[in-house]
């Protein structure tokens, strides 16, 4: 590791924000599962590492009927996997969490870190997108709240400004009869990045929501496709049609992991399978 950095472990949010604003080349350390790779491969020159794990309020994983689910920036992914609340109320999120990397990595990696790293193929965003998650941000100029579908601005890029820190994710209460599922394609059954990942949700009012990763520079919520599906009414014919239509709403690339052609195919298959599952018509 070439980077020689100052390590700072603040015990409250304002110290963290102040430090991040003051120092150049500062990086936030939560789980570190993405940061360590950047350091090890000398892809960044970190002069300061701000470890946020000692800030008490960031470790909260809470649910209430009024505010829904709050996931603090220090909450590791395995806590989502093991949470009955998450499993019951946000099944797609629990499934996405359980599919992310390996058990050991999930013990370190945080859910908030997974969005801040802003990988196009990150597993949690599709589920967060279909649940209209809000990103709570604090910074030198105060707090702000950004819908997760506006959080990503490009490959490995987000709306976060210098000195800003994501405090938590907030997922509104889903309501009675809400259903969701996350399906992903990988190269093997074990630990792998998603070739494509699709979260599908049917809300209590019968409307669908679709989130997808690894088919564009950022994870996407497919609003336009959702509207068309909702217009047609959700049934087997619509789902077959949506399987075709989805390819008009995504822009996958070919890379070492997959060809664009296969990603298009898998987006179609995973959407169809997800929706069919949710309406109880598994293939």
């Amino acid at each position: 590791m070439i980077s020689r950095f100052q390590y700072f472990k603040p015990h409250n949010l304002s110290d963290a924000v102040q430090y991040l604003e003051k120092e150049d080349n500062s990086y936030v350390l939560a789980g570190g599962t993405d940061l360590m790779i950047l350091l090890r491969r000398n892809l960044i020159n970190a002069e300061h590492i701000v470890d946020i794990k000692a800030i008490p309020e960031l470790s909260a994983l809470e649910y209430s009927n009024s505010t829904g689910l709050t996931i603090g920036a220090g909450v590791v992914v395995n806590r989502l996997v093991d949470s009955e609340i998450v499993k019951t109320n946000y099944p797609a999120l629990q499934q996405a969490a359980a599919s992310l990397a390996s058990f050991q990595l999930r013990n370190r990696a945080t859910a908030v870190g997974n969005i801040c790293n802003a990988s196009p193929g990150a597993d949690l965003p599709p589920s967060l997108l279909v649940y209209d998650a809000l990103v709570n941000i604090t910074g030198p100029h105060g707090d702000r709240q950004v819908p997760v579908d506006q959080f990503f601005t490009g490959v490995k890029r987000t709306v976060l400004q210098r000195g800003e820190l994501v405090v938590s994710l907030q997922l509104p209460e889903p309501g009675e009869g809400d259903r969701s599922i996350y399906l992903r394609q990988t190269r093997l059954r074990g630990h792998d990045l998603a070739t494509v990942g699709v979260a599908s949700r049917i809300k209590p009012n019968g409307k669908v929501a679709i989130g997808i990763c690894a088919v564009a520079p950022t994870p996407l919520r497919l609003f336009a496709l959702e509207d068309k599906i909702n217009e047609r009414g959700l049934n087997k014919e619509t789902i077959d049609w949506a399987g075709e239509e989805i390819n008009a709403h995504i822009r996958p690339i070919s890379d070492v992991r997959s060809s664009a052609l296969y990603r298009l195919q898998m987006a179609s298959v995973l959407l169809k399978r997800g929706l069919l599952n949710l309406i109880g018509e598994e293939e």
């Binding site: 093997l188 074990g190 792998d192 070492v256 052609l261 296969y262 195919q265 898998m266």
Partner: protein, 803 residues
């Protein structure tokens, strides 16, 4: 997975004993080269070529040298040492031209790794990028030579055949019969091409070497994670112009090798750095990325095969051309190529045949041995071809194989005559085909019906054969000493890098000496100053050669014990028998002594001693092998063949391409099980590793021949979750008359032909013949969507019908 019950007729041989090293390893006590630290030890980091091929215009190391804590900085200007197993073609440090993206351009030894890495980042190199040799076709055109000096390279003459002014490191040949007539007079001639990419070994412990070069003498002390202590000794002596005895090689526990740690790797670089740093010990440790892009791989291979058959299913002729993409250096690659000329038509009776096998230089990561030593690759060609032939003939693939498989009296490709002692390919095939319930190929109607469900099942099987690829004079040896407590200390020269060598050899010793296996003390650690010679721990040869050496040493030990006991019991040693750690008179069992009584010499009641500490030894050498004729490839290269077969049942998800392996049945004619637990482990491990080659693994290079997947992010191997739902091991025990208890080796074999069996099952499921690996989910889906029945390449660009 349920373990099949195996019953051995022997007390120790065949029993499912725990590995002798198991407890030390699972409790974390085992020490590996990776763990070793020495006073004053320095750490090395390397600057690797960023180009597959480039001219080094200039190197400025001044800033690196000036960094505090840096003790040595080396470039190609500092040493012209050449290394190589069979071809001395590899510079320890590049000079003039780099030959692959991973060639060492400069190296630093410093007080810690961070300083070394920092120093490396301060080295400034000006390169002139050159157009690389991308693949075997470009290499064979020969417009650019990877090694301009190929005509002058020192090599093993008479066994390897570098071609003048070319990129061919060795062109090995074999031929017999009259192929031309066979092709012109047979009912059907079928020609096909099959290929597969380079893959990585991925040992858990990466390559590590520590060398301390004595500044006052030629002495080199080496601690390394390696399979071949005595080969390292010999090659180091050769390359550095010193005597073998000047080189001491220590091998602690080794965290896996699979052939990738055979031969010599980081030791010469560590030596040069230690010399430059005034003799301080220097540790060179490959990172996981370097394991992929600097250390060697299994070569990519393209096989072209032409086969003639008659309508009754008799194979009349076979012509195979194997082109091995060995990358920048020959290493073991030339020997892999050589092996193909005597094993490259599979376990079939073919009167008329020829094989051309070329090990070819390109500017890719170089190649070396990998479990199976070319046989996974050649069998991918042969066993898919055999399946396609049976499709074209309309004969069941089981019947077709049975008609042509080798039997006693038949000749192998090199003209060796098989006997009843050679093992039976037919027994293996019959066993696995029965185990998976083969009833013939799926019909087109059945396939279409199943297709509607989205999941299609298929069954397939494939043969395999392999003999140790080793020099005709390969040898190994064992030393046995008796401890004061009557236990036996055994030293071997072979390395137990996970295959279970020390446990299996201890079992043979326990059987011969009739003492509990716990009474055999044997260490996996090797020190060339103390341990006796072994050629290389490769080739699945140790049970055969080493087992025989243990038997010889045991016999000598017993003879010496009985000599002393005879005096003590006042009888002719001929009258003495042994059992359960005791020696007794055959007619009067009350006259007896324990081994302990004679271990360090027998002592009479009055204190007088006779005999002395018991020591015995055993050597074993391959018997009656010959080099191959350079033009015809005829000769006797195979000490012992092990035949086998896999049969698989798979389920393909036709929309995602995901393959579920429902069952693998694997049979090997191993002559005699030595340790049921170890052989079961070898089979499960080999099958899973073979499955990686079948459905997942493969190096990907871009147009600049840079490796695109140099880490676990995109260079995947199977995990626990990818294990087939059921693996059924079947041990066939037709004894090898000159093998220990009739045993043959089986270390590599389980990996061979797993891809072929899967490929044949994919045909059964989908009705599509795939000619290229891996059979990834994406490859299967694109293959299905292309509408073609024969898939030669699974890159999107090769399947234009898809767009």
């Amino acid at each position: 997975m349920e373990e099949k019950k195996y019953r051995s007729k022997y007390k120790h041989v065949g029993q499912p004993y725990d590995r002798k090293d198991a407890q030390e390893k699972v409790t974390g006590q085992a020490i590996y080269a990776y763990d070793l630290e020495f006073p004053g030890m320095l750490h090395a980091r390397c600057l690797l070529s960023p180009y597959a091929r480039a001219r080094i215009v200039s190197i400025d190391t001044s800033a690196a040298k000036a960094l505090p804590g840096v003790r040595a900085v080396l470039t190609g200007e500092d040493s012209d040492i050449l290394v190589g197993l069979y071809m001395q073609d590899k510079r320890v440090l590049s000079k003039g031209e780099t030959r692959y993206h991973g060639d060492v351009v400069a190296a630093v030894a410093a007080e810690d790794e961070e300083t070394a890495e920092h120093a490396v980042s301060l080295i400034k190199v000006e390169y002139e990028p050159l157009v690389p040799v991308h693949d075997v076709d470009e290499a064979l055109e020969g417009k650019t030579l990877v090694h301009e000096d190929i005509n002058d390279l020192k090599h093993y003459v008479g066994v390897f055949f570098p071609q003048k002014d070319s990129n061919i490191a060795s062109w090995n040949k074999s031929k017999k019969g009259d192929l031309e007539t066979a092709f012109s007079e047979s009912d059907l001639v079928v020609e096909n091409e099959f290929s597969l990419p380079a893959v990585a070994h991925v040992p858990m412990e990466t390559h590590v070497a520590i060398v301390q070069a004595d500044p006052y003498s030629n002495k080199l002390k080496i601690w390394t994670s390696a399979q071949s202590p005595f080969a390292i000794r010999q090659i180091m002596a050769d390359s550095f112009g010193i005597s073998e005895t000047d080189v001491e090689v220590h091998i602690p526990y080794v965290g896996g090798g699979f052939g990738g740690k055979a031969g010599i790797h980081l030791e010469p670089l560590a030596t040069l750095l230690s010399k430059a740093a005034g003799g301080a010990p220097v540790k060179v440790r490959a990172t996981r990325e370097q394991e992929f892009n600097q250390l060697p791989t299994r070569a990519g291979m393209r096989g072209r095969i032409k086969t003639s058959v008659n309508n009754d299913g008799t194979i009349t002729g076979m012509q195979a051309t194997y082109d091995w993409d060995s990358g920048a250096y020959a290493d073991y690659g030339v020997n892999v190529g050589k092996t193909a000329v005597y094993s490259g038509i599979g376990p079939y009776r073919v009167e008329n045949a020829s094989i051309d096998s070329k090990t070819i230089y390109t500017n890719k990561v170089f190649s070396t041995a990998y479990r199976g030593f070319g046989h996974l690759e050649t069998h991918w060609t042969i066993e898919r071809q055999i399946d396609i032939l049976s499709q074209k003939l309309g004969i069941d693939p089981y019947e077709f194989r049975m008609k042509n498989l080798l039997e006693p009296g038949d000749k192998t490709m090199s003209g060796e005559v098989l006997t009843v002692s050679s093992g039976s390919p037919k027994d293996c095939l019959t066993a696995v085909v029965k185990e998976i319930g083969w009833t013939g190929r799926k019909s087109e109607e059945e396939r279409e019906e199943e297709w509607k469900t989205g999941k299609v099942r298929g069954k397939g099987f494939a043969m395999l054969q392999k003999a140790p690829a080793m020099p005709a004079n390969t040898a190994t040896s064992v030393i046995m000493q008796m401890n004061g407590d009557g236990h036996v200390k055994m030293m071997i020269g072979a390395v137990d890098f996970g295959q279970g060598a020390i446990t299996a050899l201890a079992q043979i010793a326990a059987q011969e000496l009739d003492i509990p296996i716990e009474h055999i003390e044997i260490s996996a650690e090797i020190d060339t100053r103390a341990n006796p010679y072994d050629w290389n721990t490769v080739a699945s040869k140790l049970i055969f050669l080493g087992g025989n050496a243990v038997i010889k040493a045991s016999h000598e030990m017993l003879r010496k014990m009985k000599d002393v006991a005879g005096q003590a019991l006042r009888t002719d040693p001929e009258n003495l028998l042994h059992a359960n750690g005791e020696i007794y008179h055959r007619h009067d069992p009350t006259r007896r002594l324990t081994y302990k009584d004679v271990a360090l010499g027998y002592m009479y009641p009055n204190g007088t001693g006779i005999g002395g500490p018991l020591i015995a030894s055993g050597s074993s050498m391959a018997d009656g092998l010959t080099n191959l004729h350079p033009e015809t490839g005829q000769g006797n290269p195979a000490a012992v063949w092990t035949f086998g077969a896999h049969a698989v049942e798979i389920e393909v998800d036709v929309e995602t391409g995901n393959v579920t392996v429902l069952k693998v049945a694997s049979a090997f004619d191993i002559g005699q099980v030595i340790n049921e637990k170890l052989v079961y482990g070898q089979i499960c491990g080999g099958v899973l590793q073979g499955l990686g080659s079948a459905v997942l693994e493969g190096y990907k290079f871009n147009s600049d021949v840079q490796l695109m997947n140099p880490s676990f992010t995109d260079n995947k191997i199977p995990t626990m979750k990818d294990i087939p739902l059921e693996i059924v091991p079947i041990y066939i025990e037709n004894p090898q008359h000159n093998g220990p208890y009739g045993a043959r080796g089986v270390g590599e074999h389980p990996m061979i032909s797993v891809p072929s069996a899967i490929g044949n099952a994919v045909y059964d499921a989908l009705g599509i013949n795939f000619h290229v690996l891996p059979l990834s989910p994406e490859a299967l889906v694109l293959g299905i969507q292309s509408g073609k029945k024969s898939i030669l390449c699974t890159d999107v660009d090769c399947l234009p019908g898809l767009h």
